[in-house]
Assembly symmetry: C2
Homo-oligomer: 230 residues x 2
DNA sequence: GCTTTCAAACTGTGATCGCAGGAGTCGCGA
DNA sequence: TCGCGACTCCTGCGATCACAGTTTGAAAGC
């Protein structure tokens, strides 16, 4: 099971999900890890051709993603990952700061030694991604870490909201990290891991909040030289 | 323009939206105002027949609503508004308390006398709904009031998250208010309106938080006698 | 009256097609 | 060289159909 799997699973266990669900997963992964960037145009036929399926499952997947604000269907011939603006970025950042520290605190009582060990492994992978300057790998590890932590909370509604935020900022942050240089990124998760180890909920909340404010906040604003960023 | 219109509009202005968007609006309204209740089964063909359209636009609309957690597609022959559970209810309530007071505070600087007058009119209509014991009208006015307030914030991302929460708890609260009796409901918006009048952000935040905690919190928990409610 | 089995009905899903509209490209004239 | 208009291409969307699977209801047996 990939660690950056959907934060809130919807497929019934032991069942093969419908094709549109698999395609949704694939597109979601691309968005969260920045494999698609803002301004990129998408089309149901183009994606169907690329993924070797018909239009229908792609349509269903794109309907879901549009409901989650990840893509915008502007008109005929224009589905796109919306460009980021200063206002929208600030809105996204603020929403993350409202929700994710709470999810982390709620997760704390449920994090056993196996879960903590897994988070440490993910963080070690993230460190390697920073060392090699691999932005995509960094983003994969980053989402795996956060989702692995929040999932332990069992807060399905909260986690679902969090995931829609990640769908929306992933593409933009990918371009920002690429411009910034992955080698310059800093692993902000040590404080969070330490807080988990000693069971300090308030320290965990602060660590997650500062991870978000520093990681996405400071670097993200640098990426917003003008109102529109592609 | 109906006051309980979608909190975050997506159709381009001056353009006729695609049929699936209109159907999404209609289903959204039914969920938020409780015209459909938990446990009710839906089907694409059934809704298409009722609404006089083909299956495709209904499918697209249901894909969006499923992405927003408003309906769940469990299997062949089983789309439903999920029954409420105690855990899910607590999760929803907590998320509302995290997001809506912030949206209200963010809205405050942007509320002119015309917007305040409109909110007062909506609140007067809500009072009449309480007097006549009309639960559906009460829920329509309640969402119109909150959305009218939050929309002024301009916080599109935040408002979108809030709307998905309303889609999820609307059906359940409708049954709760019906059992409770609409005539026993209390207008909790006076404090909010007063806080807006004097420009007191902190008072507005507290008023919205207590509106949510009292209105949905206390009454909602009464509706959850067991883990599963239809 | 209850349980089990089977058949029918209904469903979500995937596929395909056609339409109308918008985007993109190219050519021509100033 | 630039702008505008015409034309082409590609698209989202709506409609329809078929399939496989699930649910429902009826009938038979105990």
């Amino acid at each position: 099971m990939p660690e950056s799997e959907v934060l809130v699973g919807s497929a019934a266990p032991d069942e093969e999900p419908p094709m549109h669900a698999s395609i949704y997963e694939e597109l979601r992964r691309r968005l969260i890890t920045g494999k698609v960037v803002p301004g990129v145009g998408l089309s149901t036929r183009g994606l169907a051709l690329e993924l070797g399926v018909s239009q229908m499952p792609v349509r269903d997947a794109l309907s879901r993603l549009s409901a989650e604000g990840a893509v915008v269907i502007r008109s005929k011939r224009k589905i796109e990952v919306p460009p980021m603006t200063r206002d929208r970025f600030a809105d996204l950042l603020d929403c993350r700061l409202l929700l994710e520290p709470v999810a982390a605190m709620a997760a704390l009582p449920h994090i056993d030694t196996e879960t903590l060990a897994q988070l440490r492994r993910i963080d070690a992978d993230l460190d390697r991604a920073i060392e090699t300057g691999d932005v995509i790998a960094y983003m994969e590890c980053n989402s795996a870490f956060h989702f692995g932590l929040y999932r332990a909370s069992g807060r399905t509604t909260l986690n679902r909201l969090i995931e829609t935020l990640w769908l929306q900022f992933g593409p933009f942050m990918r371009t920002v990290y690429s411009d910034y240089g992955a080698a310059k990124l800093i692993d902000q998760h040590r404080l969070a891991l330490d807080a988990i180890e000693v069971g300090d909920g308030e320290a965990l909340r602060r660590a997650i909040a500062s991870d978000i404010a520093d990681g996405m906040g400071l670097i993200g604003h640098r990426g917003l030289e003008s109102d529109i960023v592609t």
